[in-house]
Symmetry: D2
Subunit: 330 residues, 4 copies
């Protein structure tokens, strides 16, 4: 019997997840929910689904799970409604930009006893997965120092900046989740420094575009994160882990492995452009994981609580930036 | 309306092609043909097809194309029968190990006026395609010297060696096709040298396991090919093109981009194991190409005549090895 | 006419500098000064010099310059005596571990009107020089974010830790100088975090062995530094500069460029072992620079004031670590 | 007591060797011999030597060795005169372009019982030495297939081509020596193919500018060599050895390790320009080796007989090119 999914949100990321679900053996996309009728229809016809209202979709007992791919501001409410309807929940990060709202949604999920899978894409990327596997297999011994570099090819429209929750919650949240994942211990101290170097309009909108954060765990493990909203050379996604017995280095993924040598020296292929290209395999793996969650053969690899913890670190970073002090977490 | 394919051969490579066709929008795998009923049934049920006899499949006017994935010795006959039935033909390389049989099959295709796509996988690999695009865009200027390295992780069973047609027709044929593709001119001179270094049993079976070939074109472009039936470090697939204005180097593809540094120095991930892993994307692209051929929006990127030319070079290499002379082609 | 140098200190680094001076056309090592007679004699005979007392050497009008290669605690006094004698001064970093003493020595040099060249080796390394040249030529546009990784292969003896002035003054001082050099602006904010992860005995001696620092300049440029007293994979010396138009990455230097491929994947040569090997070319370039300083054709590329500034950053890092606050510099 | 050398030839390579000898502890350059008085005087004054006639230099019992750095056409005669004078001989490759002359000179050396060190620079390069050490330590198991790529940044003046002895004797001779060195067995079969692709004037001068050669040893080991007189990307010097248990790859040496990332992708530093830069360390090592030969603590690592063998392979390659046949060597 097929597992039936309702995809909420027919925008760019919704289209990716819907296509990936539709391509999975044993999974059907039954409904597309989106207030923009044209987008909903287009996506529904592409994946063999029907456009429906949220009420219809949640009321349909055939629907095993819902995939929340709509605007961030709608996530928490949709989680709570899906939880009330007893559906397995796939939610694009974050649950919410507000901690209280986030906790409320996570609590509702717990009360309903449904699984919530928060889709932090990097955990499902084959490269990051290989790095994590290396750590778990002892390739670096005890983890001591982590360095995470994450830069976007270009900043989002300034109009988005005000809605984004700020760089720490919007962009660095991925790195903070990675830090928790590879450090193997919860950070207990957070300090931040940041600037507006890329575009003054971002500063005028109240945000920063270049930021660094230092994390420290109870046993003293250290992590440095570097973020920029713009890298002239493309989407820069690197992570390295130094431990007692070695170093693991995750590099960027290139469009191809062909090198060109001319008068100037050897040149590699370009970096994969941005997250849609770089994490295409991760989105597929997320769909597979949620299929298993719906089937009851897996529990969510990333939970609502993971979302709470990452948000907490992002808020601590913002606080450190404002106060010039290291923020200690209990 | 969907294009309907009949896949002949339910072995390893048949399963790959059948799955790729089945996953394509606008393509249906209608029939699986294989004398081994169990294999045919398993594959048919996996891709939503029906097991049928060759006669039934070829007689069905719904069938647009046939994909020949059976043993090499059956290819030519199947091509001729499919041609007679007016089907578009996808055929795993080679057409045949014998030149006369090959030409006969290619002629039959021409007489029938059907398209024949000979599936040389490397032409559809994204890496090789990027290299070719670079050449075509002038990245190296005029092509002058080509080096092709191709080594398998391990030799095939000795029992296969006798059926294989020998290293030149069985293995180097891919490199000879690549040479034609990137040299931009037909080779007119061929010389070969070879040894049995990997396994004496291969020599006892009348073949070599380590071979090098030099090609020269009419304008003097030079190409060197190096083949071994065994590389301790995995499936080695490299090609480089030196021209008047630069060098393009196609390297091996690794399992992942994570590097490990320990006391011995930096270590990359492993090479992708063998052709099924290394050319997975190529097989998908072949399916897409054949879809377009069936739809009439593309002509075969690799034709039966390309098969004839590659075979001719393989035969010339074998002749050069036997005579110790450079063989000149008209 | 030959420039005549007196080398003070016949230990490991003194021997290197003495040999490099002796190999320079136009430079003679006239005296070796060291209380350990045996070491002084051995070095003097190797470079064609005479063992002498400091008084004799400083009183000799033939001596153009002195190279101070003795223990750190003696540097400031020797600088002041050499300055009083009117000699050009080459001094191994640092001037002193104490800020007042450092300033006093620098002032004495200024009063005497002699040149003082503080030998920060990385500024003279061909790799770091190429990076700096790239920045100066605009390869990254405006500098925005700098990342410096510096790890020793193994910690010094614990007995040394107590005399070292601590990780920030002893080890990170090189990185702080690099930060000033490549940021192109003075850091105005410093924050630090650190742990004892490598050896508890280092912690018992009152120091840390793993430390990270964040610097920020007036215009908002950011720099992250990562230090460890031990890297299982060798002497790790990397620096990268992200700017508005590109990224420059300085990697480690390997023993050789030969790669080995085996069952585990491709493996590079080892990293050069430690500073004596890694910065051998830098020490030669320092000698050449000091020759030019003595000859009056160059002014010191690194001055006593550079030493003051680096020490100031190291002290601010220690203060930030103690207080958990970002330290602002005027 | 110092070993005393007479350097014959004050051109580019003579200046390099003279400087390297002069910088060695225990070695003095006593005489410079060159018919061009101005060049001889300039070099002599730079290294503390005296200009002298050949007769004077050879008659001086203080002279332990002579370094022959003059034009190729003078080598054999000078070797024979130096041998007659009982001097240790350092000779730039080749002994001569003619086999009979070469053998005559080698015989004269044998008769005189003096050591002759033929300076094939690559054997003394740290990179090639590391590769050879790897082979000798078993890193690839049994050697099976060797690939040598050697390309100059630009062709020599056409006026030189006629004097050069042709590409095989002038340029590929280095690769043929390398092949002998790493194959671990003498080649017994040689086949060649070549073209004039770089400059038609080279063809008009009777030579080729692009050439490939295949070698085979008695046990079946195979070697491919690729030469071009021009590479747009610089001096290309690579070698790889595939064996039963692994692959060793010697790559090009770059000006520096700094990588630049811009919109086009990651770019390495340039290749070292040409042999003077690429093999600077090799020339130093050659001088050290000849010092040991003169001192009697070493026998020449490359003998006159090695020169005979390399010349024999070069002649066989030329013969194969002319006849279109594989040439068998006894």
């Amino acid at each position: 019997m097929s597992l039936s999914v309702c995809v909420i949100g027919a925008g760019r990321i919704g289209r990716i997840h819907a296509s990936n679900f539709a391509a999975l053996a044993g999974v059907t996309v039954k409904y597309i929910v989106d207030p923009v009728a044209e987008a909903a229809e287009a996506l529904a016809s592409g994946v063999g689904a029907t456009v429906a209202s949220l009420e219809t979709a949640l009321a349909d007992p055939d629907v095993t799970g819902v995939a929340i791919c709509s605007a961030t501001s709608t996530h928490a409410d949709l989680i709570m409604r899906a939880a009330a309807a007893g559906k397995a929940i796939f939610c694009e990060k974050p649950v919410a930009l507000d901690m209280d709202v986030t906790k409320q949604a996570v609590q509702a999920v717990a009360d309903a006893g449904v699984p919530l899978f928060l889709a932090f894409n990097r955990r499902f990327d084959p490269q990051f997965a290989a790095l994590k596997r290396g750590i778990d297999e002892g390739a670096v011994g005890t983890v001591e120092m982590v360095q995470i570099t994450s830069r976007d090819p270009a900043p989002p429209p300034v109009s988005y900046i005000g809605l984004s929750g700020g760089l720490f919650k919007d962009m660095m949240i991925h790195d903070l989740d990675m830090a928790r994942w590879v450090l193997g211990e919860e950070p207990t101290e957070v300090s931040a420094s940041a600037s507006c170097l890329v575009d003054p309009a971002i500063g005028e909108a109240g945000d920063v575009d270049s930021a660094v954060v230092t994390l420290k765990t109870a046993s003293g493990r250290l992590c440095q994160i570097s973020n920029s909203r713009r890298a002239s050379y493309g989407y820069d996604q690197r992570l390295e882990v130094h431990g007692s017995d070695g170093l693991l280095q995750l590099g960027n993924v290139l469009e191809n492995t062909v090198r060109h040598f001319g008068a100037g020296g050897g040149q590699d292929g370009k970096l994969l452009h941005f997250f849609l290209e770089r994490y295409a395999a991760a989105y597929k793996a997320e769909a597979e994981h949620f299929r298993d969650v719906m089937a009851g053969t897996a529990t969510p690899a990333v939970s609502g609580q993971d979302g709470v913890m990452a948000l907490r670190l992002a808020e601590a970073a913002a606080e450190s930036l404002a106060t010039g002090r290291t923020v200690k977490l209990g």
